[in-house]
């Protein structure tokens, strides 16, 4: 188990290292470079001075050399300064990572809480009107453009009904008042996520219901509820956990859109703003942090997998 964990951790680190090199290279290909921006804000600057600055900042060096220098600093926790916020990159990103984890975590749990019973219920009555209705809801959730749904939610709940704030964050003084800012983003992200989870859950439960152990359980006289709770649910969870782990990247993408529409200060919005605003240090570190979060979530799912299925042992 421990050796498996170590191996997976090393794999994740390897993916992260490759990603950092690729993103570092890509960011060099974005329009403008830091010196261009300085020239832009200081019309007095001469070409000679620009050239000197380029040398001072090492921008005349080959990209690999610059990357290694960046990596050396990054490994000590120094990701440079943010151009937009004039603060160390990590000071910007860490609280926002927390906000995103809250948003994603709540939406994920809510989606599971809806999809588990709905998917299993549909699977126990295949082709019934209820099954068809649940299927339609799932398809609608998968197919609605998430940003448009978010706008409609704002129109309905924030503007027309006036129940909830249209966007932004709480000020951290009153927990219950702050919670109101979370309702619409969590709702939007949940609707965008729940459809595919219902479909996975239904398929997995259908498969589990076909197994011999279900017939055995029926033969020994267990009730439908006992069979579903005791046998079907747990076994159906096994494939679902794997698929859900792979959905973490998607969930993060959904979170980015949600944060953008609701002006929710999370990682997704920060990455978007930094790419648009040429804030290279934040864009780079933000994308890596997002990747790390997704990889760790995958790792957690693997552990859950082993816990759910005693037949699996990681050697």
């Amino acid at each position: 188990m421990l050796s498996y964990l170590t191996r997976r951790l090393f794999e994740s680190l390897f993916v992260l290292a490759v990603m950092s090199l690729v993103i570092y290279w890509l960011i060099g290909l974005m329009p403008g470079d830091p010196i261009d921006i300085m020239i832009f804000s200081d019309p007095e600057m001469t070409p000679a001075e620009a050239e000197r600055l380029r040398r001072v900042y090492g921008l005349d060096r080959p990209i690999l050399e610059r990357y290694l220098a960046w990596l050396g600093k990054a490994l000590t926790g120094d990701f440079g300064y943010s151009r937009l916020y004039n603060q160390p990159t990590l000071d910007i990103l860490m609280p926002r990572l927390g906000n995103t984890v809250v948003l994603m975590g709540l939406s994920f749990l809510l989606a599971l809480a809806i999809a588990l019973p709905a998917g299993v219920y549909a699977a126990t009555r295949p082709q019934s009107p209820v099954d068809h209705a649940i299927n339609m809801v799932a398809f609608a959730g998968i197919s609605v453009p998430p940003f448009w749904l978010a706008i409609l939610l704002i129109i309905l709940f924030a503007v027309t009904l006036g129940w909830l704030p249209a966007g932004g964050m709480g000020d951290g003084r009153d927990f219950w008042a702050d919670l109101r800012y979370l309702v619409l983003p969590v709702l939007a992200l949940t609707i965008a996520t729940v459809g595919s989870v219902i479909r996975f859950m239904r398929a997995a439960a259908l498969e589990a219901l076909r197994q011999d152990y279900v017939r055995t359980a029926q033969a020994k006289g267990l009730s439908g509820r006992q069979i579903v709770v005791g046998h079907v649910l747990r076994n159906a969870m096994i494939p679902v956990v794997t698929i859900l782990a792979l959905q973490m990247g998607n969930l993060f993408s959904g979170a980015l859109i949600t944060e953008q529409i609701f002006a929710y200060l999370g990682m997704g919005k920060t990455i978007y703003d930094s790419v648009i605003g040429n804030d290279y240090n934040v864009a780079l570190a933000g994308l890596l942090l997002a990747t790390l979060t997704v990889l760790l979530a995958n790792l957690l799912a693997d552990l859950a997998y082993a816990w759910l299925d005693p037949r699996i042992s990681y050697q």
Partner: protein
Amino acid sequence: MTGPEPQTGALAAEAGYARGPSLSLRQVFWRRFLRHRLAVGSLVFLVLLSLASVAAPLVEAALGVDGNLVDLFNAKQPPSAANPLGTDELGRDLLVRLLYGGQVSLVVGLAAALCAAVIGTLLGLAAGYYGGRLDALLMRFTDGVIALPVLPLLIILAALDLNKLGLPQALVGSESISIYRIVFLIALVGWTTVARLVRGATLSMKTREFVRAAEAMGAAGPRIMLVHILPNVVSPIIVATTLSIGGIILLESVLSFLGLGIQPPLPSWGNMLTSAQELIWDSPALAIYPGVLIFLTVIAFNFLGDGLQDALDPRALQGEE
């Protein structure tokens, strides 16, 4: 759909068509597909939508309007004879813009799905057929790509300066560059599902007698993969590709909405919604119609893919009466 004939009897029997003369696989497919009413309805809707989008220039001519002509004195007009759905915030005809936007969304969805399917099929065939180190390497790579947070990555890729990539100026400067770019980017991250499916199907195919016979007769690897294995794994590829189109259209609309996909003045349903948050008050039609069209198109492709899956996959039969 085009599989080897000998399976027909078994499949037809399983499907409950054993009575009477046996049906060809194609007939079984159509019977099963036509029973799936949502999928049939979706197919009809998508065909009509495609025809309407293709007819956009005709509609433009018939109405006597120019879809690209900015006319600020005529902005946000309600529906009229000349503008059946009214005009947008720059005074352009909304119906014509929606139809041209439909062209873009459909072309991007189909082209990107096709490119992704080709990449996925080739990688999946190679991984499944050659096995060993290559398989392990390719599948690890696939797992890595699947786990990535795709949208932030695409945002960075979409923001790249194409001039720095050394692409020819004629290409970078062309109006359709944002279409090529988004198709390329989505194909770059979208091939993983097909690759995994094809690899799995190839693994089970390569032990079959007809593949071993071809090997014994000295056929080379590429020939076996493309001539013998590929035709037998077409069904899952068609299903997965159809199901992917909806997601791709959504992704395109998100990127265009964020200003990183299709660039105005070229319309796409996504970039028509960019200012929806402000527009919804004084002219809700501008914020509603593009969103509804995205929703209907995406759900239609998903229903269609679902129907194809039921019709092409004999194992799906067991869930039914």
